[in-house]
Point group: none
Chain length 248, copies 2
Amino acid sequence: MAKKIKEVANIAGVSVRTLHHYDEIELLSPKKTADSGYRLYTDENLETLQQILFFKELGFPLKKIKEIISSPSFDRREALKLHRKMLIEKRRRLDQMITTVEKTIQHSEGEIYMSNKERFEGFDFSHNSYEQEARERWGDKTVDESNAKMGNMSKEEKNDLSAGMNSIYTKLAALRHTSPASEKAQAAIKEWYDFLNKIGSYSLDAFKGLGQMYVDDERFTKNIDQFGEGLAKFMCDTMAIYADNNKK
Amino acid sequence: MAKKIKEVANIAGVSVRTLHHYDEIELLSPKKTADSGYRLYTDENLETLQQILFFKELGFPLKKIKEIISSPSFDRREALKLHRKMLIEKRRRLDQMITTVEKTIQHSEGEIYMSNKERFEGFDFSHNSYEQEARERWGDKTVDESNAKMGNMSKEEKNDLSAGMNSIYTKLAALRHTSPASEKAQAAIKEWYDFLNKIGSYSLDAFKGLGQMYVDDERFTKNIDQFGEGLAKFMCDTMAIYADNNKK
DNA sequence: ATAAAGTATGACGTAACGGGAGAGTCAACA
DNA sequence: TGTTGACTCTCCCGTTACGTCATACTTTAT
């Protein structure tokens, strides 16, 4: 039942070193036999590996993959369905590339003219909608950006920021038993949205996604609920309504 | 006509830094204005960039790409046609991956059973036929490895090696009118396989592929048939059988 | 029982850029 | 005509995802 490393490597088509690496960074850590120290992979480990390779195929860095699959809100089935969509999208791009190559061949045979833009159609691998969707769903670049910005700030600036945050949290906490759709709640959440956009840049979708994280990820929930029990949930709802109302 | 770096980056969907990098390693070096030192890209540069990105998409390291496109024997049109084939192959693999995902979804819903091998179908990105073809066409790693190892050897060692080769060739030549599946032929070819793995490292698939080359590439055929007419063909058949028999 | 094959843990190497610093260049607008 | 903001240049260090030894122990096959 439990497989040794080479066998797993062969089945999955990766190197032994890769599996060592995944263990090192704690992305995929199998059990080890007490006596020999050998890594033993279960079938569940194999499933996880499959997931990892899917995400890798889609261009996610290992760090992000780790976050995603170890997140408490990670839903395997949902992920698979998104995978399918993204793969189909990828195939569409591939088709476009094939068309591009065919045009290039014809062009080289003098049959047609080809513009420079056409030359690179299908290559745009980073800016597509489903990957965007995935980034929003599972925590994304904007968060990294904020963190980076925070890193560059002076202590004083951080204090200002933290004061601002606290005041908004407190304001929201006071409203947390009213309706998320109320004018007051919406006004307060707008403050929050504007505030966030000082340190990062959030689309409305990202904002809504962030709200979802507040309840999905217990690290957030715990932090936020310090200002009042149920605040995370209230903010999540309020943010969702705000986002939906403000879409053109 | 001549474009500045940002414009090129935008058209091709790569970063400015990437173009800087390609200039550094002399993969793609545009002209520079004498006065400002700015890089100026011509339309020909753009074409080359397109080729580079194609090869990159197929997983070639930049070093190899440089060799390929700067080789005097490099034929743009031929390369494009192979590109198309490889892209189509890639789409096939992608289709397989999509099937795999769909199966996994059904599996997770308890509708079907799924074997471990099935789990990873479509992922095997390094061992496919067209990429193999490309590697053979434009020089491949195993050959480089052998060359490197050969380079490190003393004259004496080389002589030993050459003696070993000759003795195996002679042995095989003597058997070339018997059946490739016979015990003797298989034993002799195993010697050959082991021998090759002293200087390189050949998987069974690579071994089989090598055998195919013996008949496909006349430089090999000529060389081998010096030991007896038809030896190349005989070895090819014997190697294929050996490879197939030894896959567990 | 002894060799061959597999595995483990470091530690260093590599490829393909990313990203910032510091300084010069260009284009447009006031 | 000056200046401002977007581009560009050349270092140069950092990062990701492993590759590649070296060295030592364990398992498997003969």
